[in-house]
């Protein structure tokens, strides 16, 4: 019963959109690479038929916009086609980025939760910290990241941690803001109830505020994990393109390897999707364990 409706409701629309996008992409590649093909033909003194021009614009080595099959081929070559320890393997680079992402996400989540707890319980912290927290996110991360990396390098900290700290810098924000709202989400009568029991602040926190904030936490974590990945990639740019998906993006742009850039981009997008999916799954598991009413799909 559920399977056909799942296919009809989820798979078919997604595939339709995908097909339209791919078709559009091929057409775009045709137009964007046209001048390069023409230039190449003139250089070699060849006369391409229109159909040969078409085909050539989808098979250039360094096209302006690579065709989808070129990106997929590159993705395949640099993942399944190489040993994972190879410096050209996207699995290797993906792992480098992933480890920084996860460490930064973990630290950012902890920092965000601690800040939110302080803000909710101390008026002084609410007044003094909140403006700074918001201000911290108005600074362009692309400007901060190189400085942070260089400063930390100067005091002997390099490798995973500086990149992770940039992820932390980005990911603590949605967690802090979401958790402030979540910890303040209990209704007045729920708080009154605790007051009639003469419960102390710690009991109100563990038995009411914390469980009430869990849905808010997961909403924040979904934003936080995606933004952590961005932070890690940005953190890899100023390190001289040593390792990581960010490094692949940068070296690709140095050498005009557009196919490599696109493959790295797709790897990053795939990783982000996977991470958000994992957070979503853990959310469903936790909400189930907390006895939440199963969501009914609108239909």
């Amino acid at each position: 019963m559920t399977k056909p409706s799942f296919v009809r409701q989820s798979v078919v629309p997604v595939l339709t959109v995908l097909a339209v996008l791919v078709a559009f992409w091929y057409v775009a590649a045709l137009f964007m690479n046209h001048s390069m093909v023409v230039a190449e033909a003139q250089l070699k003194g060849l006369a391409f038929t229109p159909s040969a021009t078409w085909l050539r614009s989808w098979t250039l080595d360094k096209p302006l916009l690579p065709a989808p099959h070129q990106v997929i081929a590159e993705l395949w070559r640099s993942t399944a086609g190489l040993s994972v320890t190879s410096k050209r393997s996207l699995v290797y680079h993906g792992w480098v980025t992933l480890s920084a992402t996860l460490l930064g996400f973990l630290l950012g989540t902890l920092l965000g939760i601690l800040l939110a707890i302080g803000i909710v319980h101390q008026k002084v912290m609410d007044k003094s910290l909140m403006p700074w927290i918001i201000a911290s996110q108005t600074v362009p991360i692309l400007a901060v990241a190189p400085m942070l990396i260089v400063v930390l390098n100067a005091i002997g900290i390099s490798g995973l941690l500086p990149k992770a700290l940039i992820s932390t810098y980005l990911s603590f924000f949605p967690v802090a803001v979401g958790m402030v709202k979540g910890l303040r989400s209990p209704e007045a009568i729920h708080l009154d109830l605790m007051r009639t029991y003469n419960a102390d602040d710690f009991q109100v926190f563990t038995k009411l505020r914390w469980p009430a904030s869990v849905p808010f936490l997961f909403a924040s974590l979904k934003v936080g994990i995606a933004i952590s990945l961005i932070g890690a990639i940005v953190g890899e740019l100023p390190t001289g393109a040593v390792a990581g998906l960010g490094a692949r993006l940068l070296s690709g742009s140095y050498y005009g390897q557009t196919i490599q850039i696109w493959a790295a981009l797709f790897a990053a997008a795939f990783l982000a999707g996977l991470l958000v999916l994992l957070v979503g799954w853990s959310e469903r598991l936790v909400m189930h364990l907390m006895g939440a009413r199963p969501e009914r799909r609108a239909g």
């Binding site: 007051r195 009639t196 003469n198 009991q203």
Partner: protein, 277 residues
């Protein structure tokens, strides 16, 4: 009154220790709002004896819920004196002297029914075995045995409110404060719960203060009906019921005695309202 409570008179504001569970004199409460002060309660005098079932009835804005919240130390009066269990409302609250039932069940959705009833017991620091015993006993009192492992959303509105009553009873207070607990329920469920509540009251011999805006509910349940009127919130009339104490059949609502009481309450509500439109 128990001997232990006599020592509570140390904390009263000059009122001699009496047999009253609640003793209110010349109490007033003014809220400071953006539009200036609003007098929610004015010159309230009320005594509630142990074992009484007292209803506060009146139109919205008459301060009946506010008065209940003052008794529970959820609002602070701005004038007059009040003692609860022979002491101040705050000390009574710190002593967990009352159980409070809100308009909504206010069950925590992430806790099962049993764990919701356990909530105050965990805060009080009872052992697991004591908790289990009180959960079983109080769920049985409200006829919810067998629903321990259900989550609130799996229960009907009436069952949820019964669970919240079990939670209030689990604290084992002598005083039960109920703020329109059945206001959101349909009349058939409400009748049924009213009957059950009276049986419960007769069985447990607790003092109950009950806020309602339903005349039949107030007259059916109460030994004493406090008729209140708004702007400023004040007591218009206190009606002592001459209906038999203890469990009353629902049919009692058809008797002339009942109708006479209801008429007096209705007249009181109308008189308190007369200056309105």
């Amino acid at each position: 009154m128990a001997a232990g409570q006599a020592s509570g008179c140390v904390f009263t504001t000059g009122v001699p220790a009496s047999m009253n569970v609640i003793d209110i004199e010349a109490l007033s409460l003014t809220f400071e709002t953006g539009d200036g002060p609003v007098q929610a309660l004015s010159n309230i005098d009320l005594k509630i004896a142990k074992g009484d079932f007292v209803s506060f009835i009146g139109p919205s804005g008459c301060g009946k819920t506010t008065l209940l919240r003052v008794i529970a130390d959820l609002e602070q009066p701005t004038g007059g004196s009040i003692s609860v269990n022979g002491t101040t409302p705050e000390l009574a609250r710190l002593d967990r002297a009352y159980g409070y039932v809100f308009q909504a069940p206010a069950l925590y959705p992430w806790r099962t029914i049993a764990r919701n009833v356990a909530l105050p017991l965990e805060i009080m620091g009872l052992t697991r075995a004591q908790q289990q015993e009180r959960i079983a006993r109080n769920l049985a009192l409200v006829n919810l045995t067998g629903f321990e492992k259900k989550y609130p959303w799996q229960l009907s509105g009436g069952m949820q409110q019964r669970a919240s009553i079990a939670r209030a009873l689990a604290v084992e207070p002598d005083l039960l404060l109920m703020d329109e607990p059945f206001g959101a329920l349909d009349e058939i469920v409400r009748d049924h719960l009213n009957e059950q509540l009276l049986q419960l009251w007769a069985k447990t011999k607790k003092t109950v203060v009950f806020v309602t805006h339903s005349i039949p509910e107030a007259v059916y349940l109460s030994t004493k009906i406090v008729v209140m009127s708004p702007r400023p919130g004040r007591i218009h009339d206190i009606v002592e019921s001459d209906l038999p104490r203890g469990p009353r059949p629902l049919d009692i609502r058809e008797t002339p005695e009942f109708l006479k009481l209801a008429q007096r309450v209705r007249d009181g509500l109308r008189a308190g309202h007369s200056y309105d439109d």
